[in-house]
Symmetry: C4
Subunit: 179 residues, 4 copies
């Protein structure tokens, strides 16, 4: 039943948007005494990003904070939409959609905090990581088994690509078969 | 029942004090060979700090250790009360309260070790993270579902702001609605 | 029963191959603002590597990504087979096997993502860490209790060495006895 | 019953020895591309070390690996016995005991791998962290609820100090009372 619902909501997707801290990372902001700031991204999320793009979906990152590390990770993955320092995420996404002639029915969104719920409620499909606060999980269509920074994004992508029937095709170049 | 008790204890709060290592972080002190020391703070705790200040509460950090990284994180969040290298935390907090004309009935305190229990027992409301030692959790009014460094502080702040009826108002600027 | 099956599949092993990110690490790629990239390897996996080599097995790392940190860790452990930046892992392993006159019946393989399943299905014995995606775990002969980066590799090695009757002998120099 | 047994075994303790990687840390060895190596130690273990010393017990670290970071952490805590790069730990500890006129009945030992079991079996009291391999846990007198690097050492120390009747006295300077 859930899978059927994901399939209906995934049909018209064109764009997967993800929050950064707490979704692509476990939420930890690392500060070192010499002023460097670090973040940890998961390898499986990186591969999932490539699979989603191979399936013809566009990806974007949207964050309330700003960090060079995020730009660097996006560059590495070939993600061009990187919106940082955004307070009102829903307004910013609507501007993006207008520029590209897209609608919320074309958008899947994964987030973990109050700054994300407006987008989660507007998007065709939404998810929150397993360790998101209760109130946020309650507003998400899917809750991933994985916590933020531990493959939550990959789980969301896999669910979408399977629902759209794209999964087997995009993993085939790796010699993989799907169960 | 618990919520009603939190509400009574939250009514007169003016100040939320938090220990650092083990509450705002998971307790890990990172040492690198080149002498740098790092700590990891959680993004959701940072947003919670801003929400608490938006609700008119003052925040403070109090630590038995000393680290530039803590000062830097406090500065980033706009937290002015940063007490480091404190052995007798209760005495130091009482000095602070005297300076500001406040009493323990105005204080909420979250901590994770024996150095915190005196403050926890004196404060109007107290909490310990899910992974605090048994003896510490036993002396806390609330035990958060989240472990230290994984959103324990945010959970404490959300419980307080909800009990005071401030939550919906402070998350509204982010386009968020509360359940 | 499972142990008997592991024993049969371990009899002809000559080579243990392991993926890196998500198996030897928890999958997290650490990016710092100054451009440094870090990975975390587990001490118990390092000791297991030495025990496997003491039992006469050769070890190899194979990764879809490339990082100096991996080469450094391999050097520290005395592992000479380090294959990085490999997209089609199965083809690359078959080239390696041809060079050495080995066959898949001589290979044990542990991996955590779609890029690993072709090797997992070809190898005599395969494993996936506890936190690998469901689809990957379903294609592994063994699922370790430990997650990636937390001793999954060591568990795989211990199971193999016990099944081959080598465990007691290789831990003896440490004054250890096996239960 | 368990507590009574710990009490009997703790009566003559003079020295608490701890392995480093996997006990004082979560076992992760952090390698950065620029060659720096880092470890993470837990703040609560640090306080526990101070409490143990305040109770008149001596502390020592013993590791199969070698790292400046370990020396630095030991110095910060005032721990003078730091034995690194030790392959046969039991022989090395017996040399230490001979130098100081102590016996294994004076020693408590916490470790997490095959290199530690000889010491664990010889010591008056032994422990392994919750996430140690099954075979190691099976040879420990106590298994801590906490995993390595998350307060396992502190739990071991607290159990010893409580069994010896020292706990209340050593936490009193922090204004703390024990339950």
């Amino acid at each position: 039943l859930k899978e059927a619902a994901v399939a209906v909501r995934s049909r018209d997707l064109r764009l997967i948007l993800t929050d950064v801290d707490g979704v692509l990372t476990d939420g930890t902001l690392w500060f070192s005494a010499d002023g460097a700031e670090s973040k940890g991204f998961h390898a499986r999320d990186g591969l999932a990003a490539k699979l989603a793009m191979a399936a013809g979906l566009e990806l974007g990152m949207i964050s309330g904070r700003s960090s060079d590390v995020v730009s660097r990770r996006a560059r590495e993955l070939g993600i061009e939409i990187v919106l940082q320092g955004i307070k009102d995420k829903k307004a910013r996404v609507e501007q993006l959609l207008a520029e590209r002639g897209l609608a919320w029915t074309n958008v899947a969104y994964i987030g973990d905090d109050v700054v994300d719920t407006a987008c989660m409620n507007a998007a065709a499909l939404s998810a929150a990581p397993a360790d998101a606060p209760l109130d946020i999980r309650a507003q998400a269509f899917m809750i991933t088994d994985a916590a933020g920074g531990h493959g939550a994004f990959r789980e969301f992508v896999e669910a979408i690509l399977r629902a759209r029937g794209d999964w087997e095709r995009v993993i085939a170049p790796y010699g993989a078969t799907a169960l």
